[in-house]
């Protein structure tokens, strides 16, 4: 029998590892993004502090700590103080349910490579991602500034809209795995990633994710050219750093979620024999997905706000509904007639529907261009 305190110790260590990984991940994601963006723009990027500029995040942190913190005189002080905290905390605790491996044995004790194994893990993810909207809205409201308020409002509208499409793509992978437990979802991808069975779902997930973490081309809440910096215009010093941290940690976490739900999570060759390879595979997948985010940011311009909203409500939401319907129907039919052909029809029908959507968008755009001419 193991005494209680070892369990506590295990949880404590694992939580500490996750938090530290996220903090270090945030620091080095900023470095990674700056280097990658610089290379895309044929520059070198930060390379002065330490080898390859690896100490740059430390220098940035020191600078932010020593910066003056301003509170606008007419701001709601209490909410102004708590808004960054409310934004940051969900971005950390969301990582609790993401499995980064199966389990391994140390000192005759089996240690699971995840903190919590909730049977409704996907619901947990959904609810916690929604909470971080509050921080942003409250920050925008409590700053008592028009730009911050507009940024906060935009961000709440955008996040709520894209949460629907995100939710439906969650549902798609839940249906495919027949479980809400994240470990089951990962296990169900042992043979084939869900991104292969449901490519359109994965794409919708990716687009909705970009909007959910306020990344380009959906970085409306912090559009510099229109809103100076959006919801965090009035923030400086460490409070701003918390927003920054929350944004980048959310990027990491949401890429981990995308990898888990659609790209097989920690699965990879030989992961059964050596469970410690799991974190490595997850890291590689997250790394590549993050590169995708940076790449998109370097390439596409920000889309207009009304188009952002109509894209979510008129295109992504119906499409994700259709995808969910197709997935469910395919699985039910395969069960009913005991014929796997229906199951394998899912990707093709989904891609067909996706192409149909593209055609519809194209015709709409042509019609509008015609009316304008």
């Amino acid at each position: 029998m193991l005494s209680d305190w070892t369990l506590w110790l295990e949880w404590f260590i694992k939580a500490l590892v996750v938090i530290l990984a996220l903090l270090a991940g945030f620091a080095y994601l900023t470095w990674y993004e700056r280097r990658a963006l610089a290379r895309i723009q044929t520059r070198i990027g930060p390379n002065r502090a330490g080898p390859f500029g690896l100490f740059q995040p430390i220098a940035d942190a020191v600078k932010l700590i020593f910066k003056e913190e301003l509170t606008p005189s007419k701001a709601d002080r209490l909410i102004f103080f708590w808004a960054p905290v409310v934004t940051l905390v969900p971005s950390i605790i969301i990582a609790a349910v993401i499995p980064w491996g199966t389990s391994f044995t140390v000192f005759g004790r089996e240690i699971n490579l995840y903190i919590a194994d909730i049977n409704v893990g996907v619901l947990y993810l959904m609810s916690i991602t929604s909470i971080s909207v509050y921080g942003i809205v409250l920050a925008g409201w409590s700053s008592n500034s028009k730009y911050a308020l507009l940024g906060g409002l935009r961000s709440s509208a955008q996040m709520i809209s894209y949460e629907l499409a995100l939710g439906f793509s969650f549902v798609t992978s839940i249906i495919l795995a027949n479980s809400m437990r994240i470990l089951d979802i990962v296990d169900a991808q042992k043979n084939l990633w869900f991104a292969v069975i449901q490519p359109v779902g994965a794409l919708i997930f990716w687009i909705a994710t970009l909007a959910e973490v306020n990344r380009a081309p959906f970085d409306m809440p912090e559009a510099e050219q229109e809103l100076t910096a959006g919801f965090h215009s009035e923030y400086s010093g460490m409070k701003f750093a918390l927003f920054f941290m929350a944004e980048y940690q959310k990027m990491i976490v949401i890429c981990a979620i995308a990898a888990t739900l659609y790209l097989g999570g920690f699965l990879g060759p030989f992961v059964d024999k050596y469970p410690l390879l799991g974190p490595l595979y997850l890291f590689i997948k997250v790394f590549l997905l993050l590169f995708g985010m940076i790449w998109v940011r370097a390439t596409w311009p920000r889309i207009r706000y009304d188009r952002l909203m109509s894209f979510s409500w008129k295109i992504l939401l119906p499409l994700s509904l259709a995808i969910t319907f197709i997935t469910a129907t395919g699985i039910v039919l395969a069960d009913m007639f005991n014929n796997q052909l229906y199951y394998w029809a899912i990707p093709f029908v989904s891609v067909g529907v996706g192409l149909f959507t593209v055609v519809m968008i194209y015709r709409e755009l042509r019609r509008k261009a015609y009316e304008r001419a």
Binding site: R43, W300, L365
Partner: protein, 173 residues
């Protein structure tokens, strides 16, 4: 224009940015690597000397008069054959340029009758206070290659007190 064009265009954009990743960065790593300045670049001023080490500047203050920013201050002193700084009667006993006022227009260079003041290629001018922005004659004058070329020199009487304006070539560039 086909139906898939919008998607193809988006993908082409991604392709362009990815291609640029493998291009050589154009960054010049400044303090280690310095870019060659242009031939007619106007940087920090240099006070020139003749081959024998005598200063070209004769303290005429024409540069000071030409200066639109009023950045140059010149005070002239008398040359003697015992203590000779420059050919002719007079030399600049004080020559100061306020580098904060200077706009690097090069009018002083044009005004100079002896080609004594030249705008060089040094652009690394930064100061911690206003006082150190004032460059004195010692800081501006061209260094010498051997100690006997230092001014003031003792010269044989009557050799250098006639003509102080040298023969000048047309500018090459």
């Amino acid at each position: 224009m086909s139906v898939l064009d919008p998607i193809i265009e988006l993908a082409r954009g991604l392709g362009t940015t990815l291609k640029m990743m493998f291009e050589r960065p154009v960054t010049v790593q400044y303090p280690e690597q310095k870019r060659q300045v242009r031939p007619r670049f106007r940087g920090r001023h240099v006070l020139k000397r003749y081959e024998n080490g005598l200063e070209k500047c004769i303290g005429c203050s024409l540069c000071s008069a030409a200066c639109p920013a009023d950045a140059i201050f010149v005070e002239a002193g008398e040359n003697t054959d015992e203590k000779r700084y420059s050919p002719g009667e007079r030399y600049a006993s004080t020559y100061e340029i306020n580098m904060i006022r200077c706009i690097y227009c090069g009018y002083c260079e044009d005004a100079c009758p002896t080609e004594a003041i030249i705008l060089g290629d040094n652009y690394e001018l930064s100061f911690f206070d206003r006082r150190s922005a004032i460059y004195t004659k010692e800081m501006l004058i061209e260094p010498v290659s051997s100690p006997e070329m230092l001014t003031p020199q003792k010269v044989e009487p009557g050799k250098y007190n006639r003509r102080s304006v040298p023969v000048m070539k047309d500018p090459a560039d």
